[in-house]
Amino acid sequence: MRSSHLLCLSLVAFLAAGGSGAAELGDAQKGREVFRQCTACHQVGDGAQNRVGPQLNGLFGRTAGTVDGVKYSESMIRMGNDGLVWTVETLDAYIENPRALVSKTRMSFRGIKDDQERADLMAYLRRYSDNPSNIPEAEPTATGTDHDLDPAILAIQGDPEYGEYLASECKTCHQASGANDGIPGITRWPTDDFVVAMHAYKRKLRPHPVMQMMAGRLNDDEIAALAAYFKDLE
């Protein structure tokens, strides 16, 4: 909870400054330090080129998976088609735990758990977005960014028999064979990946309306039950 307060406070400061750009999400100078760990794959600033990952100029407001010439994962392209746009909120969730937002992302990065570090990093990256229209201006985007799942939720032992029943609803679209055309396969996922993905839909961090609706009515135990069932589905 502490984390969301910090971020909210900095947003409030930004809003108080009338959105003039005088206030920052975090400390961009510190963010530059944080960014060092990203530079193996990403460039930003004058003359930035795509490397393993896309260049990050103009990141805010960009639709996920749309920089020409970058070899994105299928998951990232799907998320972009679904409508994932990089905003303070989505980027914050992605940097915190990449797979919560994009299950099979090529960005093999464990994430930054410290909320202030993420805020600093975004403040730094934001300098390189000309038209940061996504920077929070209105109330809805300025509330709660407490993404991280309670470890107790990840620790729930799912009931696979209940999961099998609940999964029958998933299988109308997601094939038991794991086929991946048009609708992604969801079999044999690591439990944690499955759980964080479903909670990201439930919280509407992930954009897909059917999945937001489906996940939205599942409780923590039901999500755990599904994860337990799909993990072992051959």
Partner: protein
Amino acid sequence: MMTLNRRIFLGTGAAAAASLSAPMVFAATQGKPHVVVVGGGAGGATAARYIAKDSNGEIAVTLIEPSRAYYTCFFSNLYLGGIKEIDDLGHTYGGLAAGGVNVVHDWATGVDRDAKTLALAGGGSVPYDKLILSPGIDFVEGAVEGWDTMAQNVMPHAYKGGSQTELLKAQMMAMPQGGTFAMVAPPNPYRCPPGPYERVSMVAHYLKANNPTAKIIVADPKGNFSKQSLFQEGWNTHYAGMIDWIGQDFGGGNVSVDPVAMTVTIDGEVTKVDVCNVIPAMKAGHIAEQAGVTTGNWVPVNAADMSTKADADVYVLGDSADQGDMPKSAYSANSQAKVCANAVRGALTGSRVFPAKFSNTCWSLIDTNDGVKVGATYEATDEKIAKVDGFISETGETAELRKATYEESEGWYAGITADMFGA
């Protein structure tokens, strides 16, 4: 796949030879509880498959379905539009037979609810412990003045998959240049709410490429329809000037047809047409009426398990059910079948019964790679299946999103047919 089917059929036949009083299909139940499912579509095939699969042989399951090959009504509009082939829509029952379902290709002709038996056109009667009816729709007689089922080979409904769909396509392709395609749309409630309007879109898609001066007129007894703003936006974008939708306010409900003269009369105005697709008012499949479980045109059911209000051992799935808020769709029938299968299994074997959860999504294609969707989730209340939450595509979406939505619908088609028939 058909070979497997035949082998199982012969096998049960041999076992039944010892008992003349019991027709061959039933000897194999061997004292196990027996579930009989009527109708091998999205509701019935799914229920049969899930009960057989999940009961691990503890329940004998018989599916009564007259057709050896099932042609889906869902996606049949894409066949009209030339985007799918008819063979893409055909499925056989070998996967179900291999999965332990006794598939019997026959017509169910009557239900004796006191004796708990189902009569077959081929002779004999099938005893059941639980009977699941999923017979789809039939048409209300006299619903469209001048039309009856004898006229369906001149003015096809094409609202049950297969030969009717092929007939409508052949008629559409034979239209003279600049000809007129008419549709008489149905009143609520009916199977697949966006279906007639997706059909209009797909007919327009075909005509635009092959007969660009042709016209489409739709006589509609309703004042508005499913995904209306999405369809109308798409019609303006892709098929400007081709489609004339005449709703309730303009007399669209005051309609008669003449299959001999090939005319449609809408609010007194007679129009000579080249094709006339009459989609009449609908009611529950005939067997439901014969079973005596209908009230009015449909079958009232309990939301928690899809059992009928009239008889706790008779269940009704899909289009025939009067269940509350769910639209009549393959997706809904498939969803209801899983809730029903779980409840029936629990009732017969004491297996765990979980809370009823339902969902539906209907995708529609407006033009190549221009897909839209509407969907909702539902729960069981004492009164009905009640809507929990829903969504709908928006006007003005990007081409990329519309393409992704269409691709998703293809994924769904592969998914639901695998789920119905066994992959």
